[in-house]
């Protein structure tokens, strides 16, 4: 029993809780009421983990920041993601991986 608990705790600590999150900086993402368009478009993508945030998407209008949750073991399709954001009415700028504490980690190389 105690072994199972330790294993479970280790899995939680070392598991991909934030490893599958990404942050996209989006120019112009300041309009709160119309930010739902980005959520609507992005949440439909097949690699988005809809169990987190609001259908897999969190919008922070003060920072023009879009956080997405990607299903573990699924590939992130950046062109599709950026196209969804553009279709939602805004301009994606760059995309970052996120650390376990939720901070920006590494810039993902991508040229639209």
């Amino acid at each position: 029993m105690s072994t199972k608990l330790i294993v479970a705790a280790l899995l939680l600590l070392s598991g991909p809780v934030f490893a599958s999150d990404y942050v996209v900086h989006v120019h112009g993402l300041v309009c709160s009421f119309c930010a739902q368009g980005v959520t609507k478009k992005v949440s439909r993508l097949p690699f988005i983990d809809q169990s987190k945030y609001t259908k897999g998407v969190k919008v922070e209008i003060e920072k023009q920041k879009l956080t997405i949750a990607v299903i573990p073991d699924r590939d992130l399709d950046i062109p599709a993601l950026f196209e969804a954001i553009t279709s939602g009415g805004y301009e994606p700028v760059d995309i970052w991986t996120v650390t376990a504490t939720g901070e920006l980690d590494e810039l993902v190389e991508y040229k639209p």
Binding site: H27, G28, L29, V30, C31, S32, F33, C34, A35, Q36, G37, V38, T39, K40, K41, T54, K58, V59, E60, I61, E62, Q64, S87, G88, G89, Y90, E91
Partner: protein, 287 residues
Amino acid sequence: MRSSITLLILMAVAPASAHQPVMDMAPRWADGYGFQLRQVHFGSDDLVRGKDDIDNPLGIERFVDTTWLEGVYTFDRSLRATIKVPYVNQRRVTPINGVGVRQRSDGMGDVILGLPFKRYKNHGATTQNWAITPSIRIPTGSSSGDFPLSDGSWDVGLSISHSRETPRFYQLYDLYYWHEGSGKRGMQTGNSWGLDINVGLHPWHNNDNNSGLFTLWDISARHEDAPNALNLTMASGGDRVQTGPVLMYYRQNFMARAEIKLVAYERFDGIGTSRGNEFSLAFGLTF
């Protein structure tokens, strides 16, 4: 004198803005659509000659309630189509042969179709857009009776607007013009133009459930050419400036909006009933 009162009291002030505010902020996403139900009330028993209040011994008055069902579809963020369908309930006391006669009418008013073309610019923490909106007003309202809902004309409008928004502030400038066609029964409403200015503050927003409050201050200035002598609708000639606060609450895809407009300046081409204070309440959904 009596005939001029008779003539001009018959002319009220029509809300004829070419601006299509049907969820102007949303939807800005491709294949988005929305609906809004908006109730507007205005009217008064204040009689005005030129810019001055005058005695009203006959109890001349006019009150109008309009329920607007409005819809919008966004093809992509640069092109939308809008429709506004009014249901009008209006009543007035008008002088006929020296006596104040009560008249009333209700029914569907003139439907307005708009085609907003928008060009967005997004810079970091700012988004702004320019919009050109051609509109057409279809004479779906009845032009019969003593107090018709429509003059029966096809009218065309054009608006040019600019809005700019940051997470905290919002501003909108909208200049519009309506050209009135020839109506039925010889009625001819005057052309009109105006300027709407909205300045807003965004005091509260919750990122977790995308809800918050918007507060706006609205200023509307409008000029309308005098209608002809045969016009029996609410049309009037003159200038008017209205101003007042707007409060908007939103949560996810739901929006509620309340607005009060007070008359700050009013001038008639003769004698008319003041538009009075205006109240509107709206509920909208976007998808």
